[in-house]
Amino acid sequence: MTRPYPASARRGLTHPLAPLLVLAAGAVALALAGWAVAAWAVLGGLAGFTLSGSV
């Protein structure tokens, strides 16, 4: 029997789109702020996360 998706804060925090929102906003915000090295690092994370469909 499939366990139902938990209707709680856990659901929001672990939603597949949650990392996308954090990484996307982080990369753009850091680039805007001029923190280039940090922006590149977060951009790397964003690129890695977009491979979520890769197996």
């Binding site: 938990p6 597949p16 990392p19 680039a31 805007l32 994370g45 890695g48 469909g53």
Partner: protein
């Protein structure tokens, strides 16, 4: 590892005008988004094969390392997003310093790990998998758009 190789190779394109290199980066990012949105179609280099299950069953510890290495470096995997290719091209063309290249590569690995971590933390794997499948198009296109915006800012504002 790939980021370090790109860092080393970026010296070959350094003689090209920075404005030209920056323009190419942004153009590639836009094309990447268009490809992920299905507006344009062209193949990307990849070894489109799955890592065999036997890799994990023969020796769990060594198999896990091998699985992670092959999946993470793309030796055998299906690449479902253009963003990593755009990032690789951006690293090559923007000629960042060594620290930036290393941190970008490290970030890539950590980003790659976020998917299984989020799934594990959800404590509802099958339901999470279903939600991920429904969200994949948003992840790839949204990620591409954000990457394009960030790259445009990085290559034109910070130089």
């Amino acid at each position: 590892m790939s980021a370090v190789v790109l860092y080393a190779a970026s010296g070959l394109v350094a003689p090209a005008p920075e404005a030209v290199r920056s323009g190419v980066v942004v153009a590639l990012a836009a094309v990447g988004v268009a490809r992920d949105a299905g507006l344009v179609r062209f193949p990307l280099p990849q070894n489109a094969r799955q890592v065999p299950r036997e890799v994990l069953t023969a020796n769990v510890a060594r198999g896990s390392l091998q699985f992670g290495f092959e999946l993470g470096t793309g030796v055998r995997t299906y690449v479902s997003s253009t963003v990593p290719y755009v990032l690789a091209a951006a690293l090559l063309l923007s000629t960042p310093d060594f620290l930036t290249a290393v941190l970008t590569g490290t970030g890539f690995g950590l980003g790659r790990a976020l998917t299984p971590l989020a799934r594990f933390a959800s404590r509802a794997g099958e339901a999470w998998d279903t939600t991920l499948r429904r969200s994949l198009r948003t992840v790839t296109i949204g990620g591409g758009l954000a990457a394009a915006a960030a790259l445009a800012l990085l290559v034109f504002m910070t130089g």
